[in-house]
Amino acid sequence: MSENAGMRFAVAVDTGGTFTDVTLFDRDRGQMWTAKTPSTPDDPSRGFMNGIEAALQQASLSPSDLSQVFHGTTVATNLILEGKGDKVGLLTTAGFKHVLEIGRQDIPRRVNLFAWIKPTRPVPPERILEIPERLDAQGGVLTELNEDAVRDAARTLRDRGVNAIAVCFLNSFVDPKHELRAGELVREEHPDALLSLSSDVLRVFREYERSIATVLNVYVMPAVSRYVAQLAERLAEADAVAPLLIMKSNGGVVGAGEVERVPAHTALSGPAAGVVGARFIGEAAGFKDVIGIDIGGTSADICLIKDGNYDLTNNGRIGEWPLSFPMLDINTVGTGGGSIARVSDTGALTVGPASAGANPGPACYGNGGEEPTVTDAHLVLGHLPSYLLGGTMQLDVEAARAAVERQVAQPLGLGVEEAARGILSISDNDMVGAIRVISVERGHDPRDFALIAFGGAGPLHGGSLARLLGARTVIIPPHPGVLSAMGLLVSQFRADYARTCLEVPPEYDHARMATTFDELEAEATQWFERERVPNAARTLTRHVSLRYRHQGFELNVPWAGNAVTPETTDKTLDAFHALHEQLYTFAQRDTPVEIVTLHVTAEGSLPQPRLTERPSGGTLEEARVDQQTIHFEGGTQSVPVYDRDKLSAGISFPGPALVVQLDSTALIHPDQHVTCDRFGNLIAETR
């Protein structure tokens, strides 16, 4: 087997804050093995390899049997969120030294201006060096690039020990010539520096957003490069020859080499894998319109899939910073199992964003946590058995009750169960708000979607969220805790290319647009070559960002066809009017439309796994392992507890019930009825 690994065995590694989830898949037989090992934050490559080895051991395989290694990483995300990236220098056009400090000059809408403090930028002004040079908005040279100034700047940064350099010049999205030349000069003077050019990273207009993206890219570059090199080394040491493919924020994978070039593309790598997994499970279960909700310890990541497609946004943010790369439209809300419930001096009950984290964790973990969390509320109400992770961890019900009683019930004058239900109502409501943002605000009615509840805590909330949203169906995947790893396994190659190319009506320059599309496709094709994607597996699609004249916000629609003609342009504009109406309730068909940015998406397909079918024929009684008391709003009930692994295909049962498994517990409400489908998904329908 080792001699000819072919495309048979693929492994996916999803490194989270606490655990590393690994899924190993046999494409020929549809068999899957999963492993959960502790993450190793001091050197994540160790946890990565431990996880792979644990999974291989179960399958009696060796690393050389692997054909691909897929990976979702939070290295870049955490560096940005925690402000722990590298010391970066930025070369900017003379006159724009404070481009980062000024930003968009606004105070956020939700804050109190008396109390708000502007977040500290990732690069202080003293490391932003001004270079005399200037292009106009058409790319014409107003001031030649001052090459001596670039050399001086590179030497200054080198002497100050700055080894990560970003270059972002004004109007470089039109023509990158000054940036390219500056890059060459920096390399000559400071050959060891890592370098990032804005025209290479994000070739669209708006100088603050482009500067920040370029800076953040090089900010995380040293650590991500080091990390990717370590992973490659670990794999090589273990004699693995499989290529390492890394998930990007756009839901596609690329080779490790591409990630080293634009590491900021991995800013949403972790949650993106979950979205891809949700789409796969939805389709397997026969649902093309789904809302995925991935509830972890500190936050919930929410996405929407319509007709089997997920949306990308160019208006993503990471922490305080705009990151205008194409990203999956994932909405994150700071509510998860570890979110802490508090009552303010004025009597307001809030849940999150403060989290008990892994340590001390919820009060019921018995590690000294004194504040009640969402998990404690579930335990108080009987939604969780008193043991977790297959019996390896005992939960302290009394500690949970005491925390809820002391911190919430007493201050609000409520009973303990009532207070626990209150905590869950608030957290559900926060999540519903976040779901509405990606559904209702995008012109979709959540009642038309099935919910896929995953992440460790997802299956506890799926039922109540569905009720609040009016959705009828909740899908609980076979391994809710490792769905992200599943998403990695089923992912495709993907890269996005974009260029701002403003076309103002009534005279659109079709030839110029055609040339720009061709250039973007040429870039995409070069990438296909680097990734060795076979011709037959390649797909290129064209999109445009459009807006009504005088608007400042663009909508993205597919280009109607491949040619750029007045006819295809008109068809594309029609699609824009229709989308505008869908999203914003009106269209203005008489108002001229501006074509702002052209996009090309390159996708390369990878062999797709087939899911194993679960045996049928078992009985419900065989799966019943326990009985549990649950405090529902309508009264206390004793409900059956089923072992997930023993539920065979075709079995169905009414709620209320609990379904327990190693990585998660599902709460089935009294008004739900569950069927186990042939792949082991639990399909809970509201009666």
């Binding site: 708000w116 106009d136 109007n171 608030i426």
Partner: protein, 604 residues
């Protein structure tokens, strides 16, 4: 704990339990906030005025059936926008699907305070009963008037500031009166933009209406109404308690002044008095100067000063909404008709933004004077309008807002380079793509932040080159003669200025608050904006922070030594500790609580 919840409920019902329980209240609060965000997102993405879409000069809010605001933005700019309708349209006469509209400042008692701001309000009905109002408000680019952009420092009455729309019923049971809109669009120099903005505001109000109806369907109508009451009460209670804890009984005064009215008259004094005694808490502005001939008059609705003080009091707890309840912590607001804060019809109001920003800072001065720990003064934001004909023959109107420095706080530096809440700049690359103009420089105005233990925020430098044959510029910079004051030993912030073709033989300084400035192709306008006041004695500022400010070009080396007593070594990169200690021995004394440069004595 015994399962005795039901009993507990019965007991608490006896002492008049609220219809909406504590948990539902938070759910409703979250849902109202979410509705507000949705309405805002809709306007932001569809509006066409650059004012609205990039500067985000718009506002949405939800009100109870009485017209009291329950949830809105954290911006004390707005009056009492629903009640003005009642005079013309009694509640009994309102029906589902109605939509009301106005921009009439005097007719709404200052609920809207200059004519470009259009207010749209929809009543919300559940089970045939009116339970709430949804409102949106936005600054339209041009509604006619004397000059493109409608408002100009040259205006001498409100008729020159564009068409006036009294409260009217724009839609009856869902049927829109298109004739009204045709009159309105016909009065704009940019009718297609007006149309887009109107559609955006419409859609937002309808969305808010729908969300409240859904909320009432999810809970009960009585629960929602009770939630409104409790949300107002909670803010009122917190604001009242904090107010009493902050201000000892007594009378407190603070006076500030605007440079002039755009037409050379002035300065204009704003006099604020707070009295706290057993009878209540009263704000009295009646000692302020008489109204101005120029358009800086600010028709203050009493809700605005209430909200200004309340916003200070509520800082630090995001669960407290800045709403009508919070404003009730102040029992009474006294304004004098004929004053610059309560002008008589038809005085011009277009540039009231300056007066509003001054009043906001003056309110913080009053809080400081009354023993609170408020900020130093902010500089008022700066804006210019450029109007002309582009080379393609089309008229253009560039309205470009420029950030300033905000006042230092007792615990932090003031904010550098911001305009106002939720108002964004135009990126240089956007200006160059969309207007015949080029941004030559855009940076921090060095040394403009008022020195202090905490430094005032720095203003901005922006250089604009004109790429059209000719354009008329209107410029609005206040605080040149009377910069933002510092407090508790902190010094005042730096001033702004406007200069054409700096550093050339053609250099000329412009009147900082003026219209009719003609620039021709290739001219460069350099705008420097002012900074915020400092807090605490600058000689007490950590030398490491001063060094960091010098390295970041916020403070010059000379100012570090002069204003902060921090001496740098010749390398400019390290503090000379010995020289700094020696320099700081000669510490300037500070008398009085406020520092406001040369104009201090005039006011006190």
């Amino acid at each position: 704990m015994q399962r005795g919840n039901n009993n507990m409920n019965i007991e608490s019902t006896a002492q008049q339990a609220p219809v909406c329980d504590a948990v539902t209240l938070e759910v409703v609060r979250g849902a109202l906030r979410a509705s507000q965000s949705e309405m805002e997102a809709l306007i932001e993405r569809t509006a066409m005025s650059a004012f609205i879409r990039e500067k985000k000069d718009f506002f949405v809010a939800l009100f109870d059936a009485e017209g009291d605001m329950i949830v809105g933005a954290y911006r004390p700019t707005f009056g009492d926008p629903v009640r003005p309708l009642f005079e013309h349209y009694p509640v009994d006469d309102m029906r589902p699907g109605d939509l009301y509209w106005y921009n009439d400042c005097y007719g709404s008692k200052g609920s809207v305070s200059h004519s470009p701001d259009q207010v749209f309000v929809a009543p919300v009905f559940v089970d045939g009963e009116l339970i709430a109002f949804a409102q949106s408000w936005a600054h339209f680019a041009d509604i006619g008037g004397m000059r493109p952009g409608s408002i100009s420092p040259d205006c001498t009455d409100i008729f020159q500031e564009g068409i006036i729309v009294p409260p009217v019923r724009l839609a009856r049971e869902g049927v829109v009166n298109e004739e009204l809109l045709r009159i309105f669009y016909r009065n704009s120099r940019f009718p297609d933009i007006s149309q887009g903005d109107t559609r955006a505001c419409f859609a937002a109000v309808r969305l808010g209406e729908r969300r409240i109806v859904e909320l009432a369907e999810r809970f009960r109508r009585e629960v929602i109404t009770d939630a409104f009451r409790q949300l107002a009460e909670r803010s009122q209670q917190a604001a009242t308690e904090r107010l009493r804890a902050t201000f000892a009984p007594g009378q407190y005064r603070f006076t500030d002044a605007l440079d002039h009215d755009g037409q050379g008259n002035g300065p204009y004094k704003l006099s604020l008095e707070l009295s706290v005694d057993d009878n209540g808490v009263v704000l009295d502005f009646s000692d302020s100067d008489d109204q101005a001939p120029g358009p800086i008059n600010y028709l203050v609705n009493p809700a605005v000063p209430r909200a200004m003080i309340a916003m200070y009091l509520l800082a630090g707890d995001p669960t407290l909404l800045l709403n009508a309840g919070a404003g009730r912590a102040i029992d009474k607001v006294i304004l004098r008709e004929g004053s610059v804060l309560q002008p008589r019809w038809p005085a011009p109001l277009g540039q009231r933004g300056l007066t509003m920003m001054r009043l906001l800072s003056a309110s913080m001065g009053l809080v400081n004077a009354a023993g609170g720990d408020a900020t130093a003064a902010n500089c008022a934001y700066v804006i210019y309008f450029a109007r002309g004909i582009a080379d393609n023959g089309e008229p253009f109107l560039l309205t470009d807002g420029i950030g300033v420095g905000y006042g230092a706080r007792p615990y932090a530096d003031g904010i550098n380079a911001v305009y106002y809440v939720a108002q964004e700049n135009y990126p240089a690359e956007l200006v160059e793509l969309s207007y015949p103009a080029r941004i030559r420089a855009y940076g921090i105005h060095c040394d403009s932040g008022g020195p202090g233990l905490w430094r005032g925020g720095c203003g901005v430098v922006r250089e604009i080159e004109l790429l059209a044959e000719k354009a008329i510029f209107s410029i609005r910079i206040d605080g040149v003669d009377k910069p933002a004051w510092g407090v508790h030993g902190g010094r005042n912030g730096g001033s702004g200025r406007a200069v054409v073709n700096p550093g050339t033989p053609q250099e000329r300084e412009l009147e900082p608050f003026s219209d009719g400035n003609v620039l021709v192709r290739g001219d460069i306008l350099r705008l420097e904006t002012g900074g915020g006041g400092g807090w605490g004695h600058p000689f007490d500022r950590d030398p490491a922070l001063v060094l960091s400010d010098v390295l970041g070009s916020y403070v010059s080396r000379d100012a570090a030594e002069r204003d902060y007593g921090v001496v740098l070594k010749p390398d400019d990169e390290t503090v000379d500790d010995a020289a700094t200690i020696a320099r700081r021995e000669d510490r300037p004394t500070v008398d009085g609580m406020f520092h406001r440069g040369t104009y201090r004595d005039v006011l006190e």
